[in-house]
Symmetry: C2
Subunit: 239 residues, 2 copies
């Protein structure tokens, strides 16, 4: 059976029992859903989400639905006590800024978040004997987040291979960040091509019920991305 | 006031408001209590412990008492869902081996544990603006644990400085592992000199109530250490 661009080769390799496993960090947002679609083209996916006391618990509801619709092998949700550590508008009482995307490290930055999330993904990858961890970080839109940059990811990968049983025994853990240099519009066009239903995704830092605010950094980047892609964002916003 | 070897210089520097802060990973065991005593000589200490579904919840009771007695500034206990990830005798139903210390990676190894613990310490260090993270890992007794070795710690440090706001803005995070090359006997002698009350510490992987089993790897290493140091272990064992 021929595979078109949009058809993952997974099925055919699965029959030979050789489809590799990947742990995919899944937030419920647009980027991680696209990353899951990309990982799913070549891997059996194990989605990992976190309940870390963030304001947007609604994200988890979206993550569950995305995992289900996109046919992951397993979806694990781990609770983290990041709110006790504090230091971010996303896990504490600080106000989420809504007056436009600024330069520098935003107050929505959660200290060491990606280090913590990747550390858990690494543990699960060891148990699953998976050699790839997919993360939907993006260095273009989130240039202010130090842990969304390639040098950080390469350093994490090196550390992971020194600090795990798999690494010690010659296995190799790969941290895969397929979106890292893409614009939001490019991500949306790619995901649309892969059949991602962006109506299931959620990006807003400060939603009212199911309605996105349309004014926080995440909403602004998302709307701009759909606009530049020439597509309509299927989610609902406060008018 | 002159400071003897056993007297930390902290008080005098604290008056000038310059005592640096350190996050210290505190398990309630002998090594981490000794590490805390060492860190306390030069730093204001913020102790970090974890409730990660490990069998020995009794460790946390000991960690609390040690933190209190040793005068830490704050003691934070974070819950982790490591049991959901599985893969270790310490977080699942596998039996803890009691027939002597073996070569290789033991089944008490928790996948990526130190990566996960250090990641949280890193987040707290960022919030506290602390530049040092102390960890009581030991490469002599725990040579089978990949994440107890210096190359792993140096790689973590590098990653930490690339992935955090502090690192991005020129601050430097140091991962300090003062015990890494010491034997258990040396650690015990050092800690005794610093006034550590080892009667407050707990090492056993499989205790019965407050009584240590005396036969798991952790008990064997501890008893051998006291023996070689020519000291009596003050804790109680099953007879």
């Amino acid at each position: 059976m021929a595979n078109g661009n949009k058809q993952p080769p997974k099925e055919s390799t699965a029959k030979s029992g050789k489809t590799p496993k990947a742990v995919v960090l899944l937030s419920g947002g647009l980027d991680s859903a696209t990353t899951l679609a990309m990982a799913g083209m070549t891997h059996d996916c194990y989605a990992l989400s976190f309940d870390y006391g963030q304001r947007q618990k609604i994200e988890l509801k979206h993550a569950k639905k995305i995992a289900e619709v996109m046919g992951v092998k397993e979806h694990l949700i781990l609770r983290l006590d990041l709110a006790l550590i504090g230091g971010s508008a996303l896990t504490s009482d600080m106000a989420v800024p809504k007056d436009g995307v600024k330069a520098g490290i935003p107050i929505t930055y959660v200290p060491a978040r990606n280090t913590i999330l990747l550390a858990h993904a690494l543990a699960w990858a060891e148990v699953l004997e998976a050699h790839s961890i997919f993360i939907g970080v993006n260095a273009v839109d989130y240039s202010g987040y130090p842990d969304c940059r390639q040098p950080f990811l390469r350093a994490f990968e090196k550390m992971a291979n020194l600090g795990t049983k798999a690494g010690m025994e010659g296995g190799k853990i790969n941290i895969v960040a397929p979106l890292i240099t893409m614009s939001k519009a490019e991500i949306i066009m790619l995901g649309t091509g892969l059949g991602v239903d962006y109506g299931l995704t959620h990006s807003c830092y400060d939603p009212v019920g199911e309605l996105a605010c349309g004014r926080c950094d995440a909403c602004r980047l998302r709307l701009k991305g759909f606009d530049e892609a020439g597509l309509k964002d299927p989610i609902r916003y406060q008018s």
